[in-house]
Amino acid sequence: MGVESLPIMTTRRDAVLAWGQKNSLWPMPFGTACCAIEFMGVVSSVFDLARFGAELVRFSPRQADLLLVAGTVTFKQAPILKQIYEQMPDPKWVISMGVCASSGGFYNNYTVVQGIDQIIPVDVYISGCPPRPEAILEAVIKLQHKIENPQTTPVAQYMAKEPHFGF
């Protein structure tokens, strides 16, 4: 009676953690504008984000691990976005949904933050005004891939190539 016949699966700790995290992302929709309506479309039954485990939409940052910034972030809103991000416990990920959140959109004016990555770090950007629900699903899948393979992200690969001093 060897180890193979016992009901045990062997794996690495990181892989198990990543598998759990990616399949149970609890999004916090920081919906400000039109993209929030498309996000509502993603969680409803036709496109169904619940298939990817991200069903439990939590409006409290303390109970969420995925911050989904959907919509334009203005300078008035920016301190609040930063506060919400800081209130979220680690590990956390950020998806910037729509062009307004990614780069300011077509609002190049006195009120709009030109991309939320000026304020908080972003993991996945979705372009579109608003992005189709399928694009949001693709972004969640990309994020799941990133969670599983953190060393394959572009930033990680760049950092691995040569030593960076004082960075």
Binding site: F30, T32, C34, I37, F59, T72, T74, F106, N109, T111
Partner: protein
């Protein structure tokens, strides 16, 4: 013997401020700007005495995206996508409102077919706006199932709008002088089918809520506003009609042939949350009537004016001969330049009177565009409406006045 009177909970409705002059510890709670019930970003600072709201102060501007300044920096045609993002759940109505004002300024005649399709798509957008409002409002009250019913049928309408305009939500369908493109061949059939589904959906939602004890307790008599107060606040649209004032711009200042269409205006009784939710269901029914009247009889003809100063020439002309190319170039680069003047024009949007006050100075960009958003007036009354009720009522009320932050803050 225990004196049960001291153990009974104090009634928190009808807070009598004369009896409570002594310093009390009021709890300050922020409702928003990041809150599931604040549709879009707005903030209400509440001073709570237990669960009752003693005083409320509201703050907006969290989604102020500089619409008016952007309009000054772009040509008239380029402003149309900006208008989409005003009331983003019913984008075509904003497009129509803006184009209508500019067309009046230019004295351009819009072809009949374009007008009929504008009426049809506006009413379809009105329906989906009311579905979002009702669905989101019911979710806030706790009735989650209705959200699926209303949003699923919205997806079907989105399929139609996507085939028509190219985008689900932010359509930019109208152009100055008409529409960007004609309807596709199966449009009539698909709209008829979706109207049936909308009726079915609304029936399901009404069945679930109209005799539900919890729903009635949470909405009847909650956050009432009187007719006079609503008029003083400049309310228009379904929220004003819910208070009992029979006023609809499609009947009082008709445009686009609304005077020839048969439809009723539903009117509420006292202006509580129940009235504001149910009036939207009746308005959906009326909008379906209007669409059915227009659908069978779309006039034939072009969908954009033949006026060369205003409308882009068809692609065969643009790529076929030099005059077409020059026409296209002139309109894109030098823009549509109305003569200097000022104009205020309005439409009945899903929330009320959506007006645009446009000042033109003879150049290709508008000199000033002031948008009159119906939500702005609705939300101005919010602080006053929720004082004296409980926090949960404030949340139910917020959904019922249908605040779309894109329109509120522009």
């Amino acid at each position: 013997m225990i004196d049960t009177k001291t153990l009974l909970p104090r009634s928190s409705q009808g807070l009598d401020s004369a009896k409570h002059q002594e310093k009390k510890d009021l709890v300050m709670v922020n409702l928003g700007p990041s809150h599931p019930a604040t549709h879009g970003t707005l903030r209400a600072l509440l001073a709570l005495d237990g669960e009752t709201i003693a005083a409320a102060v509201t703050e907006i501007g969290y989604l102020h995206r500089g619409f008016e300044k952007d309009c000054e920096a772009h040509t008239f045609q380029q402003c149309i996508p900006y208008t989409d993002r005003l009331n983003y759940v019913s984008a075509i109505i904003n497009n129509v409102g803006f184009c209508k004002a500019v067309e009046r300024m230019l004295a351009v005649e819009v072809p009949e077919r374009a007008i009929a399709i504008r009426v049809l798509t506006c009413e379809l957008n009105r329906i989906i706006d009311h579905l979002v409002c009702a669905g989101a409002n019911l979710v806030d009250i706790g009735a989650l199932t209705n959200f699926w019913y209303t949003f699923n049928v919205r997806e079907k309408v989105y399929n139609i709008l996507e085939k028509l305009c190219g985008a689900r939500l932010t359509s930019s369908y109208t152009r100055i002088g008409g529409l960007s493109r004609d309807v596709y061949p199966e449009f009539d059939v698909e709209v008829k089918a979706v109207l049936k589904e909308i009726r079915e959906s609304v029936k399901q939602v009404k069945t679930l809520i109209s005799t539900n004890r919890i729903f009635l307790d949470r909405t009847k008599g909650i956050c009432v506003i009187s007719k006079e107060r609503a008029i003083s606040y400049g309310w228009t649209g379904p929220t004003l009609r819910a208070t009992g004032v029979e006023y609809d711009l499609r009947k009082s200042d008709p445009y686009y042939g609304y005077q020839d269409l048969k439809f009723d205006i539903p009117v509420g009784t006292i202006g509580d949350v129940y009235d504001r939710i149910f009036i939207r269901f009746y308005e959906i029914e009326e909008s379906i009537h209007i669409i059915e009247q227009v659908l069978g009889k779309l006039p034939k003809g072009p969908v954009i004016t033949a006026d060369k100063r205003v409308a882009l020439p068809p692609k065969q002309q643009t790529y076929g001969n030099i005059e077409g190319l020059m026409n296209h170039f002139k309109i894109i680069m030098h823009g549509i330049c109305p003569a200097p003047g000022e104009l205020y024009d309005f439409t009945e949007a899903a929330n009320g009177e959506l007006g645009f006050y446009i000042v033109a100075d003879g150049s290709k960009n508008p000199y000033r565009v002031k948008c009159r958003p119906p939500c702005f007036m609705n939300f101005a009354a919010f602080g006053e409406m929720i004082e004296g009720s409980m926090v949960a009522d404030a949340v139910a009320n917020l959904g019922s006045i249908n605040i779309i932050a894109g329109e509120l803050d522009r």
